[in-house]
Amino acid sequence: MSFIPGQPVTAVVQRIEILKLREGDNLILGFSIGGGIDQDPAQNPFSEDKTDKGIYVTRVSKGGPADVAGLMMGDKIMQVNGWDMTMVTHDQARKRLTKKSEDVVRLLVTRKSLQDAVRQSMMPR
């Protein structure tokens, strides 16, 4: 994350365990991803650093497995079941999340804690 002097950015690390939902032949996670090293990071609305080519959560289906597990829109996915997700292509990310042999994905995410950032920026200097 980029560092802007005078404005500390706090990030919260979360462990999210998603139990995939079986729908017929498919295993549903209930969220969408954007980003990847093969994508243009400038368009990412969620990243602090506009050169950040990481994988971000762009949407969480209400009531779906990811929602239930506590994943939030804007979360940056750092790892999936131990696999690094900070230097992968969009398609590699998709594959790591949708392995048919895995019913559960354990994500390590970072989440910009807006409240902390606002609070800190309002503290007297």
Partner: protein, 310 residues
Amino acid sequence: HRDCDKLNLFYSAPNLEDQNSVAAPESLLPYGEREWKGNTSKSRLIKKGYEAVAQRSYESLRRVRGDNYCALRATLFQILSQSEKLPAWLQDTDMSQSELDLLKQWRFPVDHKNEGGAVEQLECCLKRLRKRWQEAVQCASPEEKEHICQQVFVGQNEEYELLEALKFLMLRTAVQLHSDMEKGSQVPEFCWLLFARDTSKCPRSFFTNHLRHVGFSGGLEQVEMFLLGYSLQQTIQVYRLYKTDTEEFITYYPDDHKKNWPYLNLITEDDRHYNVLVSKQLSSKFSKSVRPIWKIPSGGHTQERHITQL
């Protein structure tokens, strides 16, 4: 892929006056009227079929060159002109040992000595398919996709290489499905039919007696259409006009993945010759999806990528 070009696999189509293998769109109803002028019960049935299709938001058809490749050709055309996503399996171009054994007998549509290069040639074909499919998927508009189709469907080497690649994919899938059957795993119903025929009890005989001849002396049987759809992970939706007024009027190859495999639309009067079916929404102005799009800048030419829903 310069090596592939050097191999110079196939010669160009001798019929130069009709260079396009897939014609421009023609309206369904006038087409039906022209082709079936008589008043026999058959021509009434077929024309009724065209009317029924026209009523379902299909505006036109595109005639496909009428040789034994036409089912494959029509399917390939629809893939390049409509596919939005590359199937994951397309990344795997390695060949298994059992495939390699079968491939030595592969026939290519040209009269030259293979010199044992069948495997090499097929690998090239598969790579070309992947490259073109990827190009097509990354197009920003239907016009760009059409441009690619105009480049491919001119009866030259590339078109036939791509068609042979489709046949190879069918073989690969047949080998996989047969192996699953032997293990007792669940397989789609059509597999039982595919391998129940005396002439194709196993992938080897299926290849020798059927698949090898597709494009030359035979087209695709219905059960092989299922295999084709399955191999590509697409739902090939075919309007079969001689089956108008029956429940087989629309047949899905295959019918068990309608929810998750993209649709490709074809039309046939007789299950022998297939044409491409064009829906109204494609004929009209392209309306951009409302999903957010992250563009990749690459040397001045931007491409679109969607966000992936999981």
